[in-house]
Subunit: 263 residues, 2 copies
């Protein structure tokens, strides 16, 4: 029996991963998606390796209730610390966001910039993943702690956001022409980021992850055979009315009902 | 035997409470202080009431190792959710930051503004504490999620911080002449806050808490009898070199060695 009609499970520590859902729905609109956000325990970035690994395994198990054909870890921290452990036990394939972003970065010529949260930048996960593919790659990283709260405030296309993006981007040397958005919140700030550094090629890890999903489906798992637009279920471990409002902005479409699941 | 020479224990979910330490060292320079920051488990603001209560009790127990004469909860969230529970079991008196701030606000005439994190503002802890003293008080609250990351970035006396403060402060009606800094990080942003709303009377909850401590010492506990400057021990449940750098800015003096304690 083919599993092609099973949903794709996507999980994140919060709601930032909804930008990955947006990218998946753009590229693969017919797929059914289940999103699981661990909002009760966010942020993962300040937790220890062992804790993040344990949480990632728990989230993977929760997603198994939906018998997914594939799991996407739409969270940089969980991808860095929990991907290998989840791949070892999961009955279905698991994809993280770092490898696709690193692969795209390694393919570009010249120096590469990585922007992310303090946790992602200090983990050096992107550097390691890029250097596995191109050991001589010149990489500069900048931690941008204000960008997540700015995105959650919804200050898009805003002079304050422009100034902050300019300040962070000016920390990257002039020679950097390719920048990886190493955080799932950042695609929502694209307008300001582009203004802050014209002529840059941006690697949106959500978009390249969606392409990686497409390749896996094409390869062996198979696309959903129905042509109607796929469904989207959003499950969070803790919910507030604000999350729904912010989440809809990340998703770039109206979010349906949020289900709250116990962990 | 007098306990006047025992240290004062201060705890916070992170390092923001070091602004309370700064206020204590200004007002009561001869007191020995032990600071305990639960950096491994921060932020408390997104956790449930029961979890915050449990963490507060654990922190109180850890401080008992130093046999303090008094404990100060220098964290708004832990004060709102854990003060009563800790007072019930602690062998020494316990003071939070909300009651002193609310008391000072209730004494001022006219409408009052409260600024804080999303968690503090939605807890309505300041409103409740002020209304217990003055049921008719007109109170306006504004959540300012960007101010903590701005303070941690150290963007003090900065045009970006000015713009952000102005935007948040403009959400308070013109009639508000008194504003409570309902977050221990905010005193570090005082220059920008003052510029954003000239003529405002600011209630720094750290400073009023230091005054409350002074009253308790004067009343029954007693001041340390040595006149030499008191010592400061800083213990964190998780440490990084960055914490030391940011912490020194909050403390407004060079921080000594940080001890890491297991929880």
């Amino acid at each position: 029996m083919t599993r092609a009609n099973q949903p794709i499970g996507v999980f994140d520590s919060g709601i930032g991963g909804l930008t990955v859902i947006h990218a998946l729905r753009q590229l693969l609109p017919q797929e059914d998606l289940v999103y699981l956000g661990d909002t009760a325990r966010l942020p993962y970035g300040t937790k220890s390796h062992r804790t993040i690994e344990r949480y990632t395994l728990q989230m993977g198990e929760l997603l198994q209730r939906h018998d997914p054909k594939l799991i996407v870890i739409a969270c940089n921290t969980a991808s860095a610390h929990g991907l290998t452990a989840l791949q070892a036990v999961s009955p279905c394939p698991v994809i993280g966001v770092i490898e696709p972003g690193a692969e795209a970065a390694a393919e570009r010529s010249g120096a590469v910039g990585i922007i992310g949260t303090l946790a992602t930048v200090s983990s050096e996960a992107y550097e390691l993943a890029i250097r596995r593919r191109d050991p001589g790659k010149v990489i500069f990283s900048v931690a941008c702690p204000l960008l997540v709260p700015l995105a959650e405030e919804g200050w898009f296309d805003d002079p304050v956001t422009d100034s902050i993006c300019r300040r962070y981007m000016n920390q990257l040397p002039f020679e950097v022409k390719t920048v990886v958005l190493g955080c799932t919140h950042y695609p929502t700030l694209m307008t300001s980021l582009e203004r802050s550094r014209p002529g840059t090629q941006w690697i949106d890890s959500g978009r390249v992850t969606a392409k990686a999903v497409d390749r896996v489906l094409k390869g062996s798992l198979g696309y959903r055979t129905e042509s109607a637009r796929g469904s989207l279920r959003v499950q969070l471990t803790d919910a507030s009315s604000r999350l729904k409002e912010v989440g809809s902005r990340f998703l770039e479409e109206e979010m349906g009902d949020i289900e709250v699941v116990e962990i």
